[in-house]
């Protein structure tokens, strides 16, 4: 088992790992810009045609170009839904609509324009057509009214909202964002932490490869 015999095998292994990594990171998908951390574990109520639900105190991140709202479609399929992001002074920062004919437990609605900066806002959802839509979220932890309300009627909880980018993108394009998020509360900060992690992994992998080549002395 000479080191020479292992070298091409290891080289092939490294190339395969690098190729698989590149393929995974090139996968395209709509990435999240944020979420309100509410779990969709309860039905908060229903939204009838023409009614609007508003949820106050939402932190809508910059770059958001769509919102995924936890809505339960009726058996015949969901009707058209409109959504609006409304600033504290009543200005509509962004809005959008999705046509009828959807199913499942969440509806993604594109927003225009894409939010240029972070905003603390109300997110309002209107059932613009079709049957009654179920609202999925979580009861208020303090047993109070929660942040979601239809008109003046509080629903006793919060609706789950996920903020998304407008277009699909590869993981490569998210590397800087992921690195920044990794640094939350860490003394090194995000980018340095990501670089250090990559260096550690490379060093561990290189050590392993070297070990295989030199054999146990």
């Amino acid at each position: 088992m000479e080191g020479r015999a292992r070298l091409p095998i290891l080289a092939i292994g490294c190339v395969l790992i690098a190729a698989a990594l590149a393929a995974v990171l090139a996968q395209s998908g709509v990435r999240r810009t944020g979420l309100n951390r509410v779990r969709a574990v309860a039905q908060l109520g229903t939204l009838e045609r023409g009614r609007t639900l508003c949820q106050r105190g939402e932190l809508v991140p910059a770059g958001t170009g769509a919102i995924s709202v936890s809505l339960l479609a009726p058996p015949a399929g969901g009707g058209a839904v409109r959504v609006a992001v409304v600033a504290r002074d009543g200005t509509t920062l962004a809005g959008g609509a999705a046509p009828a004919g959807w199913g499942g437990v969440a509806r993604t609605i594109p927003l225009r324009p894409v939010l240029a900066r972070d905003a603390v806002a109300r997110v309002c959802v209107t059932a613009a057509g079709g049957g009654i839509v179920g609202l999925a979220g979580e009861g208020a932890a303090d047993g109070g009214g929660g942040r979601a309300a239809i008109g003046r009627r509080a629903l006793g909880g919060d609706l789950r909202l996920v903020y998304l980018r407008a277009h699909a993108a590869s993981w490569w394009s998210e590397v800087a964002t992921v690195a920044r998020r990794m640094g939350a509360g860490h003394p090194l900060g995000g980018t340095a932490l990501a670089v250090l992690t990559a260096l550690l992994l490379t060093a561990a992998g290189a050590l392993a490869a070297w070990q295989l080549l030199r054999g146990a002395q």
């Binding site: 088992m1 000479e2 015999a5 292992r6 095998i9 290891l10 292994g13 490294c14 395969l16 790992i17 698989a20 990594l21 995974v24 990435r31 999240r32 944020g34 979420l35 951390r37 509410v38 779990r39 932190l59 991140p61 972070d118 996920v162 993981w171 998210e174 964002t177 992921v178 998020r181 990794m182 939350a184 509360g185 860490h186 003394p187 932490l193 250090l196 992690t197 550690l200 992994l201 060093a203 561990a204 992998g205 050590l207 392993a208 490869a209 070297w210 070990q211 295989l212 030199r214 054999g215 146990a216 002395q217």
Partner: protein
């Protein structure tokens, strides 16, 4: 006179230092390098995994903090309470809404991050709380006493600074485990040094092991203690049981027993091994045959007895900590041996007709294989099912190659059948003890404690499987198989880290 005493101390120290240096030199460089690779990998995991997003890490941190602040282990309580600084960190990190919710990532929002930084600076209380008295109050204190050192080193920092340094201490224990796995393989399978490297590296890059090793969790030290036990047993089977080896085996078992209750599951196997070794050495069972096993067990149990005495006299804890754990017997539960055996069968394999199925229809695949291939975070961060199914192919290939190696050397195997039987029995008894602990919990409150990490003290045997697979490939194909095993292990680990990154940060 003082100068003379100093001189005496110096001369006593020099040989000891030389002995230590000689001991270190006797360990092959390859073993150190495998250990270093494991340490680096576990450190990377410690940076990737968000704070407290490893099972029970908040409780392990609280125990270590309590011990560092009060100089004693916590007392079992009805519910866990934490210090003000840990509470603030858990609140601002959105701990409760992140664990068990795979679709909720870690902190992303700049406002939330700013609030976390501010609160970490402002909230200074460290001595409040009961040290996770409910989750861990009865557990032995060794791991936490070791973790109190990095805790104190980072005393001026925040909760997250201390946690980061404490995770590094666990990563060091992970490196030690891999070093001991290498040494175990060297004793177990002499003759093909390269296969030791493959086995040790396969363990070093096992993602679940590295994930736990990169966190604050007493399992990290238990794994090292178990690896030491396997190494010393293999050494004793190869070279004979000496007084020094008996003491070392006792010490390794003591480390396990002082680390986590689960180590109790290794004691029957160690006892059996000691008896087998002593009988083989003496050519039969006589009273003096029991001398070395008794010495080893005395060394193993002595610290636990000291802890028991301290529990009663100084610490005001129940004499036996396990009696206050979630697995305590007594009260209105009535465990039976047939019930325990039936539960163990269902726990690992599959329910038989007429049996209940506490862990689903195929626990062997759904819990154990899946868990070993990798389920991260609070046991909720998973790959698609197809990945676990695909993993069966290399696992089966490894088993076949290892089986081939054993078949090819069946004559040598016959000569070492007692030794192999001891390893198999040790593994079986340990696995039964894990199932037994879960059985008690199941009777008490219908919960099942089935996580693959509980079986990782048996990792040295996994390393042996990998090393055997290399041998099973034959001389011609061994380089290909060995390199493929390590490359696959590294790829497995790398993609597990990507999975965790995607779950928390994307």
């Amino acid at each position: 006179m003082a100068a003379g005493a100093l001189e005496l101390t110096r001369t006593a120290r020099v040989p000891r230092r030389r002995r230590l240096a000689a001991l270190v030199r006797r360990v092959p460089a390859a073993a150190w390098l495998c250990a270093l690779a494991a340490f680096l990998n576990a450190t990377a995991w410690s940076l990737i995994t968000p704070a407290f997003q490893v099972p029970d890490e908040q409780a392990h941190y609280a125990y270590a903090e309590f011990l560092a602040q009060h100089g004693r282990p916590p007392v079992p309580r009805a519910r866990d309470t934490f210090s003000g600084s840990e509470r603030a960190a858990l609140r601002d990190l959105k701990f409760a809404t992140t664990m068990f919710v795979p679709r909720n990532g870690a902190l992303w929002n700049p406002w939330e991050q700013a609030r976390l930084q501010r609160d970490l600076r402002l909230e200074r209380d460290r001595s409040g709380g009961n040290g996770a008295g409910s989750a861990l109050g009865g557990e032995p204190p060794l791991y936490y006493a070791l973790e109190a050192m990095p805790y104190r080193l980072a005393a001026g920092g925040s909760v997250l600074d201390r946690l980061a340094l404490m995770r590094l201490a666990s990563a060091l224990m992970t490196g030690a485990t891999v070093l001991l796995v290498f040494l175990f393989l060297r004793e177990l399978l002499p003759g093909r040094p390269w296969s030791w490297t493959v086995g040790a590296l396969g363990v070093a890059f096992q993602p679940l092991f590295a994930f736990v090793g990169g966190s604050v969790n007493s399992d990290a030290l238990l794994y090292a203690a178990a690896a030491a036990i396997f190494y010393l047993l293999a050494r004793a089977f190869r070279r004979g049981l000496s007084v020094r080896l008996a003491v070392a085996l006792g010490a390794a078992t003591a480390v396990g027993l002082m680390t986590k209750f689960n180590a109790m599951g290794l004691v029957p196997g160690v006892t059996l091994a000691l008896l087998a070794l002593a009988i083989r050495q003496d050519g039969g069972l006589r009273p003096r045959t029991l001398r070395l096993p008794a010495l080893a067990l005395a060394v193993a149990l002595a610290p636990a007895l000291i802890e028991l005495a301290l529990n009663v006299t100084v610490w005001d804890r129940p004499a036996i900590g396990a009696s206050a754990s979630a697995f305590r017997l007594g009260g209105d539960i009535h465990p039976t041996l047939p019930g325990a055996l039936a539960y163990a069968w269902e726990f690992y394999l599959a329910p038989l007709p007429g049996m209940a199925s506490p862990l689903g229809h195929l626990p062997l695949m759904d819990t154990w294989v899946t868990g070993f291939v990798g389920v991260f975070g609070w046991v909720e961060t998973e790959w698609p099912v197809a990945v676990y199914r695909a993993a069966l192919v290399p696992l089966a290939a490894l088993a076949l190659l290892a089986g081939r190696a054993l078949l090819a050397r069946r004559d040598a195997l016959r000569a070492r059948r007692v030794e192999l039987l001891v390893y198999a029995t040790t593994a079986l008894l340990f696995a039964l003890s894990v199932a037994g602990a879960s059985y008690v919990g199941h009777l008490r409150d219908h919960t099942n404690n089935a996580q693959a990490r509980y079986l990782l003290p048996l990792l040295p045997l996994y390393g042996a499987l990998l090393a055997l697979a290399v041998r099973g490939a034959g001389r011609r194909w061994a380089p290909l198989v060995g390199a493929a095993i390590v490359a696959l292990a590294i790829a497995h680990d790398l993609f597990a880290q990507l999975l965790v990154l995607a779950r928390y940060y994307a």
